[in-house]
């Protein structure tokens, strides 16, 4: 594996770290199985690419993308809370609707950004290779989002959000408006996912209507890999863990792409990735067994 592909895996992994944080909020903290992310990831890409193509400032375009994602998440929450549509179905409906909405926004299935300014090209200092700079910028961005999230979830409002997910009946008994908490939580979650989509489009040359396929699967895999490596219930550790999980997942894909030396072929990629992730998942179990057997011997 070359350094270039390693830095690339780090960069894409950090972008998907935002998706992992998004999934952590919906699935783990709010306990809301939210599939909207499959639509809000390309939504962020579509909004950012279209705005930049129309001459907007890349930072303003990225912010606009996050706001669009927040709106999409809020609609899913509204469908569930106000119209009483089952959580999973509400998110599926929103995901389907976003496909058409994204096509409308882009006006075409593909909007290129190869020769347009992006947040990465604007912040690119001379003398540093761009393939090193982009992951460093992403590291700073993801660290900022992680710390902001840690702070928010420890505030009064954030604690109410966590209570809503942990025990909605108890939360209501304490006077928390659980309905508006679900809407807020999904808005934050999907804003992060759309932000990831906006940054991904800017790092890889354009938005494409097919970008959202499987976002939720990768986000969940990152969350689970992260959780199995860092077995902690502390929130600051959990937010770090899922980002590490997302980066590891990308490293596994990069490793799988380089697996041709043992006779594997292009079509085996998904299988190799699945095997590597499985290994990461059973590692803590093996460690536990090892420790257990040692203890018995003593």
């Amino acid at each position: 594996m070359s350094w270039y592909s390693l830095w690339g895996a780090l960069e894409i992994g950090l972008i998907f770290g935002l998706v992992a944080l998004s999934v952590l909020i919906s699935f783990r903290i709010l306990r809301f199985p939210d599939l909207t992310v499959d639509g809000s990831f390309p939504l962020g890409a579509a909004v950012a690419a279209t705005l930049i193509g129309a001459g907007a400032d890349p930072f303003a375009a990225t912010l606009g993308a996050a706001l669009a994602g927040a709106l999409a998440g809020a609609v899913t929450g509204w469908l569930n809370v106000r119209l009483r549509i089952m959580d999973l179905l509400a998110s599926i409906l929103m995901m389907i609707a976003l496909y058409s909405i994204n096509l409308r926004i882009m006006g075409a299935p593909n909007v290129p950004l190869i020769s347009e300014p992006t947040v990465f090209s604007v912040l690119q200092p001379p003398g540093v290779a761009d393939y090193v700079m982009r992951p460093l910028l992403m590291l700073a961005a993801v660290a900022g989002v992680k710390l902001a999230l840690d702070w928010y979830l420890a505030t009064h409002h954030g604690l109410a959000l966590r209570a809503t997910g942990a025990n909605p009946r108890m939360a209501r008994a304490q006077g928390i408006a659980t309905g508006s908490m679900v809407v807020t939580g999904l808005a934050i979650s999907n804003a992060l996912c759309a932000l990831a989509g906006a940054l991904f489009a800017q790092s890889q040359g354009g938005a494409d209507i097919s970008m959202g396929i499987g976002t939720i699967v990768i986000g969940l895999a990152a969350v689970i890999v992260g959780e199995s490596l860092f077995n902690s219930r502390r929130l600051a550790v959990m937010t770090l863990a899922v980002v590490v999980g997302a980066v590891l997942y990308r490293l596994f894909v990069a490793l799988a792409l380089n697996a041709d030396f043992i006779g594997l072929q292009a079509q085996d990629l998904n299988l190799v990735t699945a095997v590597l992730v499985t290994l990461a998942l059973v590692l803590p179990l093996l460690r536990q067994r090892l420790r257990g057997s040692r203890r018995r011997r003593c």
Partner: protein
């Protein structure tokens, strides 16, 4: 305690990754990527390989050939692009728009040959179809519409009004319709449009054209190609001749189609790769469109839709469907 152990595991993983980092440079190497495995895209890949073999570049003579598909996932396409750029091959061949964009965004120096991109200029791969002056060249699968209009005239010589069914949400189709609107009056014909936003709308759109058109022409629109049978039903029932661009539609009941042969497009892209391997700069080579089109004819369908095809026309076809 657990956290520090996990940190060790992470360090171990990082060390493993670094250990696998290879620095070897290769004499002649070609890396090919496509967004998904698909008969047309695979035919392009095989065409590139055959062109290389013909020019004497084989693995036995030291060529390093690499192929990766993104399995339909754009994030993997981006990672494949980074991997290829890191491997520093002599040429990267990128098949289909998302893969080509990911590669072109990742390198400004390694020569890139794209293929199966309908509009490389709109996709910002090249500034124009002329020599780009950059590291990018390739073969577009755009159809020359003049040849398509000539085909319509051959099948239905006295046609005046041409109908088109298309998906308004598909960029490629919209661009074909726009060009046809400008080109048809030059040949004494006019265009009548019917849009089908979903595959289930194709039949209704075709029925809305009955009585208004002398023939129906379709581009490689995904909706129309998916639901071509509903178009065939209308054509057969109302006696409207159907002319397609997707050669497979001829087997399904169109009278004729003049379409791109993807294996041939691969050979064409392969010849560009060979020129670059021999030292030519990709920036001096113009983007090409597929020159060689194949004519598919279905005489049975012609009978059903009320057209008598001349024998000479049937004989000129590369494939006659019986």
């Amino acid at each position: 305690m657990k956290t520090s152990l996990s940190a060790k595991v992470l360090l171990g993983a990082a060390a493993l990754v670094a250990a696998l980092a290879s620095t070897a440079a290769h004499a002649q190497s070609v890396a090919v990527t496509s967004i998904v495995e698909h008969p047309a895209l695979d035919a392009i890949k095989d065409g590139v390989r055959q062109a290389l073999r013909k020019a004497g570049y084989t693995e036995a003579k030291g060529l390093k050939w690499q192929f990766q598909t993104a399995q339909g996932n754009t994030a993997i396409a981006a990672q494949i692009a980074r991997k290829f750029v890191g491997d520093k091959p002599d040429v990267i061949v990128a098949i289909a728009t998302p893969s080509a964009q990911a590669v072109v965004a990742a390198t400004k120096s390694i020569p890139v040959v794209y293929a199966a991109v309908t509009d490389p200029v709109a996709a910002q791969l090249v500034p124009s179809m002329e020599p780009s002056g950059t590291n990018v060249t390739g073969v577009s699968d755009r159809l020359a519409l003049e040849k398509q209009i000539a085909l319509i005239k051959q099948v239905v010589p006295d046609a005046k009004r041409i109908g088109m069914v298309y998906n308004p949400g598909e960029a490629n189709s919209v661009s074909v319709v726009k060009q046809m609107r400008e080109l048809l009056p030059g040949s004494g014909m006019s265009l009548i449009e019917a849009s089908a936003a979903r595959t289930v709308d194709v039949g209704a759109a075709a029925r809305s054209l009955v009585g208004k058109v002398d023939a129906i022409y379709t581009s490689t629109d995904n909706n129309v190609v998916s639901a071509y049978e509903s178009l065939v039903k209308v054509g057969n029932d109302a006696g409207i001749p159907l002319i397609a661009s997707d050669t497979d539609s001829v087997k399904r009941g169109a009278i004729a189609a003049l379409g791109v042969d993807y294996h041939d497009m691969g050979l064409q892209a392969g010849r560009q790769v060979v020129e670059i391997l021999k030292g030519r700069a990709p920036g001096t080579m113009p983007s090409e469109t597929s020159g060689k089109l194949q004519l598919y004819v279905n005489p049975e369908a012609a009978k059903k839709q009320g057209v008598a095809l001349p024998d000479a026309f049937i004989k000129s076809a590369a494939h006659v469907i019986r």
